[in-house]
Symmetry: C2
Subunit: 251 residues, 2 copies
Amino acid sequence: MALSKNKIRAINALSKKKERDESGLFLAEGGKIVSDLLPIFHCRTLVCTNSFMDEHPLTKAEETILAEKEEIAKASLLQSPPSALAVFEKPHYAIDNGRIAKQLTLALDTIQDPGNLGTIIRVADWFGIEDIICSQETADVYNPKVVQATMGAIARVRVHYTELEEFLRENKEVPTYGTFLDGENIYEQELSSNGIIVMGNEGNGISERISRLIRNRLFIPNYPTGRATSESLNVAMATGIVCSEFRRRVL
Amino acid sequence: MALSKNKIRAINALSKKKERDESGLFLAEGGKIVSDLLPIFHCRTLVCTNSFMDEHPLTKAEETILAEKEEIAKASLLQSPPSALAVFEKPHYAIDNGRIAKQLTLALDTIQDPGNLGTIIRVADWFGIEDIICSQETADVYNPKVVQATMGAIARVRVHYTELEEFLRENKEVPTYGTFLDGENIYEQELSSNGIIVMGNEGNGISERISRLIRNRLFIPNYPTGRATSESLNVAMATGIVCSEFRRRVL
């Protein structure tokens, strides 16, 4: 089956959030990511080279289109064409508050940069965080740039969008943490093995109404204390350091 | 003084490494970064709006060109024109082995992505690391994308390019550390307050000939141990977590 102009147009359209929302579909590109996601998500269309197919003979897709790289390039949003791209159905996850009570969960208060969101999902995966709760204003996890930046971690981490304030109120028995420039030295604080860690917006940090719901205010101290330095750490970097510190306590 | 076509061409040319090497100059863009770098580096040309000048009346530059944003846009490499851009002379730093013996230093074995290099410099600044030793193959710190990603941290961190193997041999009395997928759990290792931390290439990690010179092989354990996860952490993220862990011990 050939890669028709209509098909190319339909794939390209998935770079737009409106199109993803209406169709319930998303695009993943690159041999590694596509092969990570194929066993997890329902694949509507797989476009790949013969050699990708040879290496992954058991792939399941409603429709498989074999194409040369030059042809894949027409549908691809990447600068150099991948050996595979695939259109998947977005999964539907429910937030399980029973699980939230027992585990470590990340909550994102309006992370705007797709690269930051992807990096956060990847580091969450490394540290075994299985649910990320995002405010409605957080970047879309199904933006192809985010999918790319996760390096396949969305196969293992459930990303939810909800009213963050309501979510925190519903789970008010669970310990809550957040990073603040006037917070307490994280290395010296007691950190629980379960809890919700809130990370804030790139420019503004955690919003006022969310910060009122956070019990434990943390800070990653710069070194040496008091030295002139950058104003803050990048939010994805701060997330990784905080997660590392939580997991260190139990490892 | 107006922004002539020749001037625009000369500024744009600094996106090329060859041009930067030959001229000994680099370009910084954005009001915040330019104002961070102006007191530190010698400025050849400052192009800025009237309002930038009003906010920074004491700036020193050989040549200052006041321009509207639409005019600045012609010289800028950014998508939205900044309130200031500046051409600086590259600084000349010597590696001081006396200092290396006493402090914590980062060494980069061929970091290729400009964004990663910029993020590493920014997190180094946060944790008070003042020297970064790069292999000759590492991305150029004066690439405008790197300058951008450092968020001004290059004003406080000295970045050197040298033969990394030779550098490590010269400083063989200094404790050496590196991250390896088969290294020891970093949380359980003794970490000294001085030392050289080597971080490896995005795809290949630390090269064979460099790894032979590293005494302490570290690993950031994923959680829970043995669970399927991403293959590795992004190198900038790993650098941040390792630096955090070194500084935690002395804070």
